[in-house]
Amino acid sequence: MVKASTRRNFPVEGWFFIAPLLVLLAVFILYPVVMNLYYGFTAWKGFGQEQWIGIDNYVKMFSDSKFWTSIANTGILLFFIPVSTAVTLVVATILRDGLPGWTLFRTLLYIPNLLGVVIIGTAFNLILRDAGPINTFLTSNFGISVPWLTSPVYALLGTGFISIVWSPLGFGIIYFLAAMSNIDHSLYEAAAIDGASPWATFRHITIPSIRFAIEFWVVMSFINVFARMFGFIYVFSRGGPGFSTFTLEYGIYELAFNKFDPSYSSAWSTVLFVFCAFISIAQIRLMKRKEA
């Protein structure tokens, strides 16, 4: 990303060109992040003067069962990452064979990525309702009805499947296909001559060759789980039923804007900040390794 050697010096101009970005980031990203860390140690109702109260918010948080529920829910959602990675890799590998019509499949599979979380969350809410198509079908044919949205377990599993496996699939396919297109074709020819099975070829050639892309994909999925779920949960389940789809992100929203306890929500934000900082550093390390 950055090679110093052939450049001449433009000490002032460089800063001039990045100034708009830096001002926006300083004001609207960095300042909120830093102030959140501070407000976590205060009592503040959203207006007026905040009061320093030390670690009270953190003491309250660590004995708050909703906090641990949100951590546990996030932990369960993480289990969808290997599922998503495996499914995406398998579909990309099939497409890579170039079956007749494969580009049409690639295009259609990409459609969920175009739809925002609000459209996806609302659509699935309609589909999974008791009066929705799936339960109507199950009731009229088998006399059963599955509580997709009203059972805590199904709601959380549905959230994981839809937003971690279903929705990024098309993006992942294109991403892995691009990585696979860089694999030296002679490796596959050699494997074919040796009579290697499709599985052995996949396991010993494809996977090691695109290891880097897989690592990147996993980091992106972590970002998805920790930092990009709010919109979906807001329209799909509002964190419920009960607190079954409550995540840290949703908890911060709930505490700050529905329970009107913004300084307590800042303590939650600090925990989320720590998780995200680790993910961010992991991502930067991958980016730097790619450039090396």
Binding site: F17, L25, P32, L108, Y110, P112, Y175, A178, Q283
Partner: protein
């Protein structure tokens, strides 16, 4: 590789199954949007046997969707222009100019790329109130551009740093300043990548929820996406009407995709693979 036709069958089966799973939700929304509430209640399946446009007529009439649509059509292009200016300019500096702390600042920008919007939005709301920018499109646009620019900047930086420096060197010889270099030499060269980040920016802003939700409290300012999220909770709206509104929200990204598919697929890989 020589393969028998028979061995293709399982592969096709997997592809067809995955494709159905991917597109059926959208087909369901489309089908429902063409039914009357009565037909939907009797048969919520995919196919509208007695297709009607009444839900769309309602959406544009009493549903007031035209208003939200026009809000989005104002605020998204506004945001996009600012986003492009910020990303292209910063990407050019990080990728092609030499200045002190460049690497450190660049890594700082990357570090700020992933933090969830919920982490920022409360303090941001406080700031916007101070600046008088709540319930204003300008406030929303500034928040969007600040939040989405690090990724666009990263893509532009990797792109610009792959442009051969000789092009710049010879222009420098002719006395070309950095600003003119950016506007008349680098921007045309980078046009395809600018197209890619335009699509990324457009889709993310069109579909954005958290900032719109908390910065636009005034109902008349709602974007299309925000309107969908709120309408669902506010009135016990019947499913076909809601489906029609969903289709109208989804149609913009889908049309963009159909016209600019190359840019979209390029965008999927630009951030992570191109060097």
């Amino acid at each position: 590789m020589i393969r028998s036709r028979l061995s293709m069958i399982p592969n096709y089966a997997v592809l067809v199954l995955m494709t159905l799973i991917a597109i059926i939700p959208l087909l369901f929304v489309l089908g429902s949007s063409l039914k009357t509430p009565t037909e939907y209640a009797l048969d919520p399946g995919l196919i509208p046997w007695h297709a009607t446009l009444e839900n769309y007529l309602w959406a544009f009439g009493n549903g007031g969707i035209l208003h939200y649509l026009s809000n989005s059509l104002i605020v998204v292009p506004f945001g996009l222009v600012l986003y492009l200016a910020v990303c292209v300019s910063a990407g050019f500096a990080f990728g092609k100019l030499e200045f002190r702390f460049r690497l450190g600042v660049f890594l700082g920008v990357l570090f700020l790329m992933i933090f969830p919007q919920m982490l920022l939005v409360m303090q941001m709301f406080k700031l916007m109130t101070m600046f008088g920018l709540t319930n204003s499109f300008l406030g929303l646009v500034l928040a969007w551009v600040a939040y989405f620019s690090p990724f666009g900047t990263y893509i532009m930086t990797t792109y610009f740093s792959s442009v051969p420096s000789e092009i710049m060197e010879s222009a420098r010889m002719d006395g070309c300043g950095s600003l003119r270099m950016l506007l008349s030499i680098m921007t045309p060269i980078a046009a395809p990548m600018i197209g890619t980040i335009s699509i990324i920016g457009l889709l993310t802003m069109w579909n954005e929820l958290p900032f719109s939700l908390l910065l636009l409290q005034d109902n008349s300012l709602r974007t299309m996406t925000l309107a969908v999220a709120m309408i669902q909770g506010e009135y016990g709206l019947n499913t076909p009407s809601l489906a029609a509104i969903l289709m109208l929200t989804a149609i913009v990204p889908i049309v963009i995709f159909l016209f600019f598919q190359k840019f979209v697929t390029q965008g999927a890989t630009a951030g992570a693979l191109k060097g």
